[in-house]
């Protein structure tokens, strides 16, 4: 372990900047966005310096810690506010600060017409600070602070245009769904404290071998619940689509590249819990598998470009969660997919934003068409992201997704076939719905109104898109060459020396299978969307179900919301009639007694004297009885 005193700046700089922008108010309108971008860029510089310094060191010395202060000290329970930067967290820190900075730059142009741009950048900085704290905390409790912080930033940014009631509702929905997950995290912290007496990662890891299986499964399940809430995984996935109400840069940064991947970070960070509890690991696999198919299916029916991308995000994170459920071999691939996804999905979201920017904020893809001709840079960068996500070699997604499919099949037995099959099927559907997005948006005939004048976005917007596109092209190859990322992460996720005993199928075969199903998906999409009606056709019952997000909201409404409301009404009724009745009864009795007591106070000295005499007699009687 190495100690450093620089880590705190990663969090302090954006936090202070956010506070300045919020507190100064309109005074900072002129330069607020510049300060925020500068601060975000400097966090990236610090992260880069730390990264290269880390590469110079070897072995255990690579991890860096910084102890800030004693936060809680109660009896035997001690929590230090300490930061930990190891091989795992540096990946996240670089992603957050790097992509974060690009999106800051993009937002300068994207939000230039919004008179609340300063507040937007303040929230972005707040998000960066909270997210960095989340990945830098050295204990579950420190992580929890960041976890809640990103939740708050996400809530504020989804509802950034809360003058529209629907957007405010979307923000609230995200917040509530996240609360469910947050309860999981707080319960996990409590279980960890009850079981191990500590909440630090190292402390819990050291205690795991001595803990009971039941406790570990409980802990794992609660961590998984937390991850499901934050990463929009089944069954807490419903909020992500609505979260697209936020400005598009937010969707790119928070709801695609970084915050929604916090669940993957949490599970990877807690690998010792899941490694020791096969039950919890299986739950992770199921959640990941279900979500990846769920998201992919939802993505096939979305006409709103951002919602299609959101469904895709859900599905891709499903891949990552699935990979973390595969044990030590899977963690590195989960992180690899997370990083490549960070590039290509953020890039595509920015592309979508660029299209919307040129199309008067139109999001319905049925009203796009042939935009590639008028917005060539956007089309090319988006296209590179598309090739990456469907997994065409040598683009980034190919390496990361292929590895996950391969590892899934290698899990062995029925489990391997089921999980691998789901991953493969997901790849086919991904190819279908992403091709659909491309076809509807960039090719074909123009279907937009005459009022729309699509044009290429300004350079402040397309430069970040180009940089992200380069990442979508090259990052997978870089991570995979010489197993660079796997070896880099091996000390953290305990994967050293782990090899699957037998391969289900040769790696090449699996790659070819994957490419085959991708080709099928692409072909179907191209054939089906040769002509695109401006109004969506009615479709059969299945289409309708998929359009309604596989009835996720109907399910939540029927199963959770309405019974919940009925229960609330019942309790309110109880409160009004029964509990308030008691309270009013007590109050009434006291008031009545009071009125009667007032009557005794009649103002006559003779009565008062009589009361005194009665009192004296009572005293004497009492004494007489006591001493009897």
């Amino acid at each position: 372990m190495t100690t450093s005193s620089n880590l705190v700046y990663l969090i302090a700089l954006p936090l202070v900047s956010s506070a300045i922008l919020l507190l100064l108010g309109r005074i900072a309108d002129k330069w607020g966005h510049l300060l925020a971008t500068l601060v975000s860029a400097s966090t990236f510089v610090i992260a880069a310096i730390e990264f290269f310094a880390m590469r110079q060191r070897t072995g255990d010395a690579r991890a860096v810690t910084q102890d800030l202060f004693t936060w809680i000290s109660v009896g035997s329970f001690n929590v230090h506010a300490s930061l930990l930067l190891d091989q795992l967290s540096i990946c996240f820190v670089l992603l957050i600060s790097g992509v974060g900075t690009l999106i800051h730059i993009y937002s300068i142009a994207y939000m230039s017409h919004d008179h609340d741009r300063r507040r937007f950048f303040a929230y972005l900085n707040l998000f960066v600070a909270a997210m960095l704290l989340l990945v830098l905390g050295d204990s579950y409790l420190n992580l929890y602070v960041g976890w809640e912080g990103v939740g708050l930033a996400s809530y504020l940014l989804i509802g950034f245009w809360n003058q529209k009631p629907a957007y405010a509702v979307a923000a609230k929905k995200a917040f509530v769904a996240n609360r469910v997950g947050d309860i999981g995290l707080s319960l996990a912290i409590m279980i960890a404290f009850a079981q191990f007496g500590t909440v630090s990662f190292t402390g819990v890891a050291a205690g795991v071998p001595h803990a009971s299986t039941a406790a570990l499964t409980g802990l794992g399940a609660m961590l998984l619940l937390a991850a499901a809430g934050k990463s929009a995984q089944f069954p807490l996935q419903s909020w992500l689509g609505d979260a697209m109400a936020g400005p598009t840069p937010v969707s790119a940064l928070i709801h695609a590249a970084t915050m929604v991947t916090a669940g993957v970070y949490l599970i990877t960070r807690s690998h010792f819990v899941f490694d020791a509890s096969p039950t919890a690991q299986t739950m992770v696999l199921i959640v990941g598998g279900v979500t990846l198919l769920f998201g992919a299916l939802v993505g096939t029916a979305k006409d709103d470009i951002k919602k299609a991308l959101a469904a895709s995000t859900m599905s891709q994170i499903g891949y990552m969660i699935l990979a973390t459920g595969l044990g030590p071999v899977g963690y590195a691939f989960a992180i690899m997919h997370l990083l490549t996804h960070g590039f290509f999905k953020a890039g595509m979201f920015l592309g979508a934003g660029s299209v919307m920017h040129g199309m008067n904020d139109e999001v319905n893809m049925r009203r796009y068409g042939a935009i590639g001709k008028v917005m060539p840079i956007t089309a090319v960068t988006f296209g590179l992201g598309y090739l990456a996500i469907i997994g065409v070699p040598p683009f980034a997604g190919f390496y990361s997704k292929d590895k996950i499919i391969e590892t899934a099949f290698n899990a062995g037995g029925t489990k391997g076939i089921l999980v691998g099959g789901a991953a493969l099927l997901g790849a086919a559907i991904t190819a279908f719905y992403m091709t659909r997005v491309i076809v509807l948006t960039f090719t074909g005939t123009k279907r937009w109104d005459d009022e729309a004048h699509p044009h290429e976005s300004p350079s402040l917007m397309w430069i970040p898109m180009v940089i992200l596109a380069i990442g979508s092209v090259a990052s997978g190859f870089l991570f995979n060459s010489g197993r660079a990322l796997v070896n880099w992460l091996a000390p953290v996720v305990n994967a050293a020396g782990v090899h699957s005993e037998k391969e289900f199928l040769p790696a090449t075969t699996i790659s070819l299978m994957a490419l085959g199903v991708v080709a099928v998906g692409v072909a179907i999409a191209i054939t089906k969307y040769r002509t695109v009606p401006v109004e969506a056709p009615a479709g059969n019952i299945l289409t309708k179900i998929v359009r309604r997000d596989l009835l996720q909201d109907d399910f939540n409404d029927r199963v959770l919301v309405r019974p919940g409301q009925a229960l609330t009404r019942f309790f309110v009724g109880m409160d009004n009639s029964f509990i308030d009745g008691i309270v009013r009864g007590v109050g009434g009795v006291i008031a009545l007694t009071s009125t009667n007591l007032r009557r005794i106070q009649n103002g006559y000295v003779r009565s008062y004297a009589l009361i005194m005499v009665v009192g004296v007699l009572a005293l004497l009687t009492t004494i007489w009885m006591v001493t009897l």
Binding site: A591, T593, S594, I611, M612, V614, V616, I623, V626
Partner: protein, 504 residues
């Protein structure tokens, strides 16, 4: 041969100085011209109290002593309470100095031609100042008296001036005189019980001193009827003064009828003196017989809290409401008698001091709320005062919150330390009832706050007059003490801890 008794004048000096000041005041009333009397009387009263406090300060460090042939005990509790009484009396005199509250000529028949003539002539008698000082001297003696005769003398010295003072209100004079007469009659009644009890105790122990009674009790463990009747009757006299149920009936009528500054003075200083004497008697003299008297004090404490708390709810007059509130507080204080330990004693000392400041301040505010015919004490007419006079209403709210025992006011710390002492000594019942009653009392205090701030003012001529400098200073000090001792209670709590000892 007759040996002159050793009086230890230096230890008695605080009391003697106040008596001297009172006599000087009588002379001034007789000799000086009318126009300058009020100012001179105020100066004499304030100067006397300061001088007395200075002498008290001189002896406060001395180890516990007795003086005047063992008839008074100068010990920690005594000195603490004397100091408190002196400071609070000083503040009370600041309120009393606003002579507008008092009858121009007390001897004139209410509503008569004489009265109107004296008012028109601008006459203002100032006998209130020497009367106050006489009462203060009795109050100083009451909590340190350590034999029954001295106790009775002190009781009468403090009571007689108060009977008169209660009748000196300038407005609503009939009500005021009625209150004075009631107070006098019932006070005499209770004094008779006190004397009767003293006689029984002498009959039991053959001694008038508290010490002698205590040794008689420990020497003879049987349940002597004389002792029990003596305890019961003596208690009646004391419980009357502190306003405990069922000897409380005079309180609301007298508090309402008396001039408001005098009500404040009585509520704060009389309660401290009487409570001090009660604590001394039960701790020093009856401590060994606790199993005989604890049940009755317990019942009285509970009755006092409950009746005071509940009866206050139905009151529509702010002075009557505070009267019942003071009855409830007397009940809380009786928990310290039951506690019989240092913590309880410390709690009681702190409670008495902070309660005194808060009470004086609250009654001080009441003197300011007036219409064209004088003070307005009808709560219904206080509605919306917070909008007209936010400062006065806020300060009054502060005092009410302190009465209710809300944290960050001195009242909270006082209740907390008092109940802690009682709880630790095993008096769980009284603590539970006390806390529940506190909740009831909080209701009517907060109702006043709601009336002040959250109800629209009626079109009514009630307003807060601009107070004189002395009144302002006095209210400011009371408010400051209420806050400071709520935020930093250790300033006084530590002192109370050091002083919480009786000598036997």
């Amino acid at each position: 041969m007759l040996i002159a008794p050793q009086l230890s004048y230096s230890l008695l000096a605080p009391i003697l100085i106040v008596l001297g000041g009172a006599l000087l005041g009588v002379l001034v009333e007789a000799v000086m011209k009318k126009g300058s009397r009020a100012a001179i009387q105020t100066a004499i009263a304030l100067g006397t109290l300061v001088l007395s406090f200075a002498f008290l300060w001189k002896i406060h460090g001395q180890s516990s002593k007795t003086a005047a042939v063992n008839s008074v005990s100068i010990d920690g509790v005594g000195i603490f309470l004397q100091g408190t009484i002196l400071i609070l009396s000083f503040i009370a005199v600041l309120f009393i100095a606003d002579t507008d509250n008092f009858a121009a000529q007390a001897s004139a028949v209410p509503g008569s031609e004489d009265e109107r003539a004296s008012v028109l002539a601008g006459k203002q008698q100032t006998e209130i100042f020497p009367l106050t000082l006489f009462a203060v001297s009795g109050m100083l003696l009451f909590p340190i008296a350590s034999d029954l005769i001295t106790l009775f003398v002190a009781l009468e010295v403090l009571s007689l001036p108060l009977y008169l003072m209660a009748g000196l209100s300038r407005r609503r004079r009939l009500l005021s005189q009625e209150a004075a007469l009631k107070y006098f009659l019932l006070g005499a009644f209770s004094s008779a019980f006190f004397l009767f009890g003293a006689a029984f105790l002498y009959g039991y122990s053959g001694s008038m001193s508290l010490d002698g009674i205590a040794s008689a009790i420990s020497a003879n463990s049987s349940n002597d009827v004389f002792l029990l009747i003596g305890i019961a009757f003596l208690s009646v006299g004391l419980l009357f003064k502190i306003g405990a149920v069922p000897f409380h009936s005079w309180t609301p009528d007298v508090y309402q009828g008396a001039p408001t500054p005098i009500t404040g003075f009585m509520a704060a200083c009389t309660k401290i003196a009487a409570m001090g004497a009660t604590l001394r008697i039960f701790y020093v003299a009856f401590g060994q017989a606790e199993w005989q008297w604890k049940p009755i004090i317990l019942v009285i404490a509970i009755l006092t809290m409950v009746v005071g708390g509940i009866a206050a709810i139905a009151q529509r007059d702010v002075k009557r409401m505070l009267a019942f509130s003071s009855i409830a507080h007397a009940g809380f204080l009786l928990a310290a008698v039951l506690a019989l330990n240092t913590d309880g004693l410390k709690g009681a000392l702190f409670y008495l001091a902070t309660y005194g400041f808060t009470t004086l301040g609250a009654f001080g505010i009441i003197t300011l709320v007036r219409d064209s015919s004088g003070e307005v004490t009808d709560l219904n007419r206080w509605v919306g005062l917070g909008k007209k006079s936010p400062l006065a209403a806020s300060i009054f709210t502060l005092f009410l919150l302190s009465f209710a025992g809300i944290p960050l006011t001195s009242g909270f710390i006082a209740k907390f330390s008092l109940f802690t002492g009682a709880y630790e000594s095993g008096n769980t019942v009284v603590v539970v009832v006390g806390v529940l009653t506190s909740a009831i009392t909080a209701f009517f205090y907060l109702r006043v706050v709601v009336m002040l701030f959250f109800t629209d003012p009626k079109n009514d001529s009630v307003s807060v007059v601009i107070p004189s400098f002395m009144t302002r200073a006095a209210i400011a000090v009371c408010a400051l003490v209420t806050i400071v001792l709520g935020v930093a209670p250790s300033l006084l709590l530590d002192t109370a801890q050091t002083f919480a000892t009786f000598i036997r």
